[in-house]
């Protein structure tokens, strides 16, 4: 009788230790997710901080030339947020830009960049979001002008402009460069604001990261390529200082939308900021996007 008793004890011990391992894994995922959540700058759009909205509750107005988007609630609330989403649904939203009920997302949600993120990074972000308080705020419909309010038009749009797929590294480059490229192109989605868009809201590839006029909320995100009037004269440590403290080489402090971004890039590790700077310093110089006649300023 001694053996079955010890076997039972062993089984119980195994179950508990299994749970402990699972809990530890969850805690690690949440911590990684929190970090990536900052790197992906999620809160800047999905928290209506200007009007005192709860974190992840959405509702922030994003004024664009196509109309006003109201960001959705991405908290773990089952009714208004994403609390009912499965892992597969969460990955599909980021990788393919498709909602759990099968609708195509507007590219205001930058799945065009997020599509390059790894499954693990995405699921860790989900773990972090699900560890945060649910916010029972209902979503507000977007207020878009014709023809942008025709949702099915997103299908041909995607066929034209959206390329699904994971981020592909470059083995001939350093680890730092590759990490920086992954952060800039996929996670931090810098190009979504710093690139001009055509009349259909798609990024003009030839001018990617060369700056934009008529950006969201009337902002004019500058050229961040290596053009002499852009970041050409900045050192990697200049870029790192900007991402850490918001300070530019001429002693200015960034404002506008970049201030919110810096609040998040300040939370990154020195190594990741260095990786971003390394990638940006390796970019070819591009002429700044010319100012269109219809620019706000």
């Amino acid at each position: 009788m001694r053996y079955p008793a010890s076997a039972l004890l062993l089984a119980v011990a195994l179950i508990f230790s299994g749970r402990a391992v699972a809990a530890e894994a969850t805690a690690a995922a949440v911590a990684r997710g929190a970090y990536l959540f900052s790197a992906a700058d999620c809160a800047s759009c999905h928290t209506d901080s200007k009007n005192g909205g709860a974190p992840l509750g959405g509702g922030r107005a994003l004024k664009t030339p196509f109309g006003t988007f109201f960001t959705p609630n991405i908290s773990a609330d089952r009714e208004h947020g994403i609390g009912g989403w499965s892992d597969e649904q969460f990955i599909r939203a980021f990788r393919k830009g498709v909602s759990p009920d099968g609708r195509d997302y507007y590219p205001a949600f930058p799945y065009t960049s997020f599509t390059g993120m790894t499954d693990r990074d995405l699921l860790d972000i989900k773990a972090y979001i699900f560890s945060q308080p649910a916010v029972p705020t209902a979503n507000r419909p977007h207020d878009l002008s014709f023809p942008y309010n025709i949702r099915w038009a997103l299908l041909p749009w995607k066929i034209l402009y959206f390329r699904e797929g994971p981020f592909m590294g470059d083995a001939s480059r350093s680890m730092e460069w590759n990490r920086g490229a992954y952060l800039v192109k996929a996670v931090a989605h810098c190009g979504e604001c710093h690139s001009p868009r055509n009349a259909l809201g798609a990024i003009e590839k030839s001018r990617r990261l060369a700056g934009a006029w008529n950006g969201p909320d009337g902002m004019n995100p500058p050229n961040i390529t290596q053009h002499p009037n852009a970041l050409g004269k900045w050192s990697t440590s200049d870029i790192e200082s900007l991402l850490k403290d918001g300070i530019t080489p001429d002693g200015d402090f960034v404002g506008s939308g970049m201030k919110d971004v810096v609040a998040n890039t300040a939370k990154l590790t020195d190594a990741d900021r260095h990786a971003i700077a390394t990638f940006l310093k390796a970019l070819p110089a591009k002429e700044p996007t010319p100012k269109p006649a219809t620019a706000s300023r």
Partner: protein, 193 residues
């Protein structure tokens, strides 16, 4: 009165061209009251014109004042940026404390001047393309004042840390000032990055 007389003489000429007697009499009779009326009319017109010109002149002067205000504050910000660079160098290396002391004094002084740099009407509403000062400065003055007050407090803290030669404290204070002072203000009240 000279205007009235000249008018009268014109009437005289016309009178002579027609019937001398009647014309002369009519001119004489009309000369007094009509001249006065004309004078009054002319005077009020001139006064109105002068008033309008005065207003226009004042507006021009105000606009000139504001253009100078905009130029001054941009120069002031740029000058402060130069000092900020000196302070940043100190927080990174710990060297040239004396220069940082001098630089932070300028930042502290500037922080006290800034409230006077933004008179109503000097924003991008009137000076689009020349200034990035958002209308929020005047529509939300409480927040603007509070942000400047934070900047002033942070600059004072930074000054103490630099004076004490405490590089770590100076670095922390410098970052706090950049985030809560400079950055917060630029984020809420400046229209460009």
């Amino acid at each position: 009165m000279s205007i009235g007389f000249r008018r009268g003489s014109q009437h005289d000429t016309q009178g002579r061209a027609g019937s001398l007697g009647v014309g002369a009499v009519r001119t004489c009779r009309l000369k007094g009251p009509k001249a006065v009326q004309t004078w009054r009319w002319k005077f009020s017109l001139a006064a109105a014109a002068a008033l309008a010109a005065g207003i226009a002149l004042m507006a021009t002067v105000r606009a000139d004042d504001f253009a100078a205000t905009v130029a001054d504050r941009q120069a002031g910000m740029k000058a402060m940026g130069e000092k900020v660079k000196v302070i940043k160098a100190y927080t990174e290396s710990g060297a040239s404390q004396a220069e940082a002391v001098e630089a932070v004094a300028v930042v502290v002084a500037t922080s006290k001047s800034i409230p006077n740099w933004f008179p109503a009407g000097s924003g991008l509403g009137s000076f689009a393309g020349k200034t990035a000062a958002k209308p929020d400065i005047w529509s939300d003055p409480a927040k603007f004042k509070a942000t400047i007050a934070t900047f002033q407090a942070d600059a004072a803290t930074l000054q103490k840390a630099i004076a004490a030669g405490d590089q770590a404290a100076a670095t922390a204070a410098f970052e706090a000032m950049g985030r809560e002072g400079c950055g917060a203000c630029h984020g809420a009240f400046r229209a460009k990055t």
